[in-house]
């Protein structure tokens, strides 16, 4: 090591960016999962367009516990990817790139996406009379 002031390779700070690595992987994972989830969206549109019978089949699949778990997963993916996507858009405007801001907005996205998704489901279940919050 005759040049100790040279940048180390690999850059050591990369290993401290675990939160951001997680979010980056999650953005891709949610984006591609949502791509598969669009099949469900198109199934819904087809079912509505086909008539009450097809729609009932869709509804019973969607309200089945397994369907609900899958839908919960997709809704979380959609909320997370959207929030994190907004973060990407800010970066592309050259904003929010400071290390501290990146960590903070990342943490905010993780927390907000969980809170919003659970909130959506609580609101839905309340509306459907499946739970009674008030």
């Amino acid at each position: 090591m005759s040049h100790p002031d040279r940048p180390l390779s690999p850059h050591l700070q990369i290993y401290k960016w675990q939160l951001n690595m997680l979010l980056s992987i999650l953005h891709r994972a949610t984006g591609t999962s949502l791509g598969i989830g669009t099949l469900g969206l198109v199934w819904w549109a087809w079912a509505v367009s086909s008539g009450p019978e097809a729609y009932r089949t869709f509804q019973s699949a969607a309200s089945h516990p397994v369907g609900q778990i899958i839908l919960f997963g997709f809704s979380y993916a959609l909320v997370f990817h959207s929030l994190n996507g907004i973060r990407h858009l800010f970066w592309d405007l050259g904003m929010g790139f400071e290390k501290k801001t990146v960590t903070r907005s990342g943490r905010a996205v993780l927390i907000l996406s969980a809170v919003l998704t659970i909130g959506l489901w609580l609101a839905g279940y309340q509306l459907a009379g499946r739970i009674s919050l008030f």
């Binding site: 891709r28 984006g31 591609t32 949502l34 791509g35 669009t38 099949l39 969206l41 198109v42 549109a45 087809w46 509505v48 367009s49 008539g51 009450p52 729609y55 009932r56 509804q59 309200s63 809704s75 959609l78 909320v79 959207s82 996507g85 907004i86 990407h88 858009l89 592309d92 405007l93 050259g94 959506l120 609101a123 839905g124 279940y125 509306l127 459907a128």
Partner: protein
């Protein structure tokens, strides 16, 4: 910032790369309000029966928004999937064939979605 819009929009040698990036941003931006609207509507329509759902979609405002949603969603997905493939598949032939296959499938699914929405909107 080197990412100033004027520098990127339609300039540089990588023209198609640039417009790909730009359309990814445009569709992402359009999707923000559309996704909020869609999620809130789906929660509000939880347990809606067939007649209610059809009546909702037949509202011209809803029909237009759903159609735009479908277009933006699948355009965004197509661009996104292309980036993912280009990152992971390096064999030229495999890359080209998977891109064509995936884009064709996404277009097929997306246009079907749009068709079904229009079928509801225009149906009697």
């Amino acid at each position: 910032m080197t990412t100033a819009l004027g520098k990127i929009k339609g300039m540089g040698s990588a023209k198609s790369g640039t417009s790909h990036w730009w359309m990814q941003q445009v569709t992402a931006l359009a999707l923000v309000p559309l996704v909020v609207w869609f999620l809130v509507s789906m929660v509000a329509l939880i347990d809606a029966d067939h007649a209610t759902m059809v009546a909702w979609i037949k509202n011209p405002f809803v029909g237009v928004l759903l159609s735009v949603f479908m277009v933006m969603l699948f355009y965004h997905l197509m661009l996104g999937v292309q980036v993912v493939i280009e990152d992971y598949v390096h064999n030229e032939l495999l890359k080209m064939s998977s891109l064509i296959l995936l884009k064709f499938s996404i277009a097929l699914v997306g246009l079907s979605g749009l068709f079904f929405i229009l079928r509801i909107t225009l149906g009697s």
